[in-house]
Amino acid sequence: MRYSNSRFGLGAATVAALLAFGSAHTSAQAKVGVEGTFLIRGGTVVVGTGERLEGTSVLIQDGRIAAIGSSVTAPDGATVIDATGQFVYAGMIDSYTPMGLAEIGRISTMQMSGELGQFNPHLRAMVAINTGSVMLGITRSNGVTSAITAPTGGIISGQAALINMDGWTWEDMALNGNAGYVVNYPSAQGGGRRGGRGFVGFGGGGEDREARAREQLEELKQEIRLARSYHIARQGGLEDEDLVYESMRPLVSREVPAIMRVNSQEDIEGAVALGEELEINIIIAGGRDAWKVRDLLAEKNIPVVLGSIRSTPGQGLPYDAVYAQPGVLVAAGVKIAFSTGSASNARHVPYHAALATAYGLSPEDAWKALTIWPAEIWHVDDEIGTVEEGKLANLFVADGDPLDIRTNVSEVFIKGRRVPMDDRATRLYEKHNARPKNNR
């Protein structure tokens, strides 16, 4: 059951609304970074693989990390940034946000992440990203240089994109335009509890919900089976193109995963079984009960994008269940990534990780779950995630541990561009901090 209009992607009205918003706030928008050759000199380079290189310089040229070493010198015309006593880190990644799709809450024209209809695998978040979003500047100022931006709604919401927090256009910003298909796995549990039933008289009885979920699950599977048939037919020479099934070929050929939004144990197990049955790759997103099935997830090599750590534990669970789960998953061999689910506070994703380190996750693994692990999950680990030669220069300079709230970030580079450190918040701060005191 598809909505015919949705086949044409996000409409002109969306783009117009986003542009109108953008132009009204031009002064608040962050500037695009400055291109050039830069030498970050003499800092401690935290590679991200466990190595720390003291007294080491990083040369940025043509958007990439051209050289790392203690004797690297600045070529003619390079801008030298003294990082003595400072640390150089790979840019952090928030693995689930509505970045660029949603701006101010409660304003419907600024919440354009969801389309009508149930099956929209052909919709691309990337093409609707507002490069004028003030969230971009706010986010990157704290060293968060990339984020998954995800569509919402329906059973298959569309294609999530991995984007940089800087760029002239969405093409310039995109690191991976199809990082995964967002799937809202049809859940039989209202409250997400295993075997739980819905409240009678509130959104239908439990049995109704279970029946509807079973029906929707069959519809989902059928769509994927049809997509596979289409994929085989196209390989065999079918010339007619179907926009929807064409968009699912990377899914059924296992090039791009389904991002399964699930929380309960039953739904996580269901999503894993679906992936096995239909031979597609999956990622668990949310994953509140993932710790209960950690061995299964480790065995199947299925990563978990954790829902916001800034949440409360499910009913009956220990007070520290949300904070302690990351450590438990990593100890079991599950690859994890942190996410805020937020555009406005993606900037503070390292403090989500900090909470996890108080309850069992090692600081080294917390760092990986903000950098190289999400880079691997989103298939961009050859481009970002560590400070290594040849990678894109997505990195930042700070005066301490990025997980420590008291640490200050002084420089941010995205694709080798040195981004200005002022943003909408700093401009409001500077304006009002400059008011003469007691000027009433």
Partner: protein
């Protein structure tokens, strides 16, 4: 003038609790030794000892003699700070925190329940007291309750008895129901910020008349005037017997409320949320208003779009007493993280940042003589962390209220313990 009769205990809640929550043990004299003590008002004491007797702080220092029979908690490597105080919470309240049927309802009071697991989770985040407010659906809402996190005790016993009376005001989008899609015919006055100002001025004018009528009766006698609980509460507000905590966002409405209050010769004690407080920080300081805000929440609605994390630092720098609050069962678990945001944005000192979750909220809710800093004679409301509360990787190990340990990580159910049990069960199965 008589005060309205107020109920404070949720009887049903206390009965339920007997079934699910452990009763706390009685107060015991105890000493925390060898800890780094963050006193908030008298600096940091390394390798210090804090002695608790009869639920109060008896001694603090590096040379404290521990009497016989006192329970000793080894604080080596630990950080001891005052119990965290949340100046804005809706936890532990009976459902329906809004008497939003009318625009002005200061005669009602929130009803406390003692079985909300948020109380325990707050303790696990080092919180020992909270201000429980009415909602923000009306211009003048109901009266609040202040509780201590005495998990396991009855609703009556949760009450912070020394706390003054407090009432919630609200401005902006919530009271005008700006997000409402109902037709105008189904909406109530006010629906604009202009209407909110008029609502305030109209009701306080009524209250002035009511006060004059009673004054005339008391001096001249005659027929006793008819008692009106709503106007009586408004008179109590004007006379300073009830403190005003006002939900607010934009600079214009914050300034407006201060001017209305000044016109009727009273003061706004604390602006809540006050996300644009940094734009009127000097006016806040001059009026004598405090500010209780969020650390980093913003953009969730239009009136929250100019919110900046520098708000705390700018207001504090200009002489406003600033606290950072939760307004949430989630944020109340990690207010120590939110306080640290004040250091990052705008460069607050560590002590100033700590004050935002200890002494300053205590001042705002009127309990600073009892809690909010580690000083001899104050209540023994304490949080023990395994590292500096602002450092990543730090967590609360023990939380103490009135000298009683209400949260102890060693005793609490944790995910780690649950996993051990499950593995054992599976092995046996």
């Amino acid at each position: 003038m008589r005060t309205p009769v107020m109920k404070s205990a949720g009887l049903v809640g206390s009965l339920l609790l007997a079934l699910i929550a452990p009763r706390g043990v009685d107060a015991q004299d105890l000493a925390i030794t060898n800890a780094t003590i963050l006193t908030v008002t008298n600096g940091t004491i390394e390798n210090g000892t804090l002695l608790v007797r009869d639920g109060k702080i008896a001694e603090i220092g590096t040379n404290v003699t521990i009497p016989n029979g006192v329970q000793v908690i080894d604080g080596t490597g630990m950080f001891l700070m005052p119990g965290i105080i949340d100046a804005h919470s809706h936890a532990a309240l009976e459902g329906g925190i809004n008497e939003g049927s009318e625009s002005v309802t200061p005669e009602v009071k929130v009803q406390v329940r003692n079985d909300d697991p948020t109380i325990f989770r707050a303790l696990a985040g080092g919180v020992t007291a909270a201000h429980l407010l009415h909602g923000s659906a009306n211009t003048i809402g109901g009266q609040s309750a202040v509780i201590k996190m005495r998990w396991g005790k009855s609703a009556e016993e949760l009450m912070f008895k020394e706390a003054p009376r407090l009432v919630k005001f609200a401005l902006g989008e919530n009271v005008t129901r700006a997000s409402s899609t109902a037709p105008d015919s189904l909406r109530r006055f006010p629906k604009s910020r202009m209407g909110v100002e008029h609502t305030l001025r109209w009701w306080f004018t009524e209250a002035q008349g009511y006060r004059a009528t009673w004054a005339a009766f008391e001096s001249d006698g005659g027929l006793e005037p008819r008692r009106d609980l709503r106007l009586e509460a408004l008179v109590d507000i004007m006379e300073g017997r009830i403190r005003v905590h006002a939900h607010s966002y934009r600079a214009d409405e914050i300034l407006m409320l201060m001017r209305v209050a000044e016109e009727f010769d009273f003061r706004i004690n604390t602006f809540q949320h006050v996300l644009e407080g940094y734009k009127v920080a000097d006016e806040l300081a001059a009026h004598g208003a405090h500010a209780s805000t969020f650390a980093d929440s913003w953009a969730y609605k239009v009136e929250a779009f100019d919110a900046i994390p520098y708000n705390m630092a700018i207001m504090a720098d200009r002489g406003v007493v600033v606290s950072v609050n939760s307004d949430s069962g989630e944020r109340i678990r990690r207010l120590y993280q939110d306080a640290a945001i004040g250091m990052k944005y705008g460069g607050m000192s560590e002590t100033e940042a700590l004050k935002m979750i200890t002494l300053n909220p205590a001042i705002q809710i009127g309990v600073e003589d009892y809690v909010g800093s580690l000083e001899v004679g104050k209540d023994a409301d304490l949080a023990i962390f395994n590292g500096h509360p602002f450092a990543p990787g730090s967590r609360v190990e023990k939380t103490i209220v009135d000298g009683i340990i209400y949260f102890d990580r060693d005793q609490a159910d944790t995910l780690e313990k649950l996993l051990r049990q499950r593995i054992t069960t599976e092995d046996q199965g």
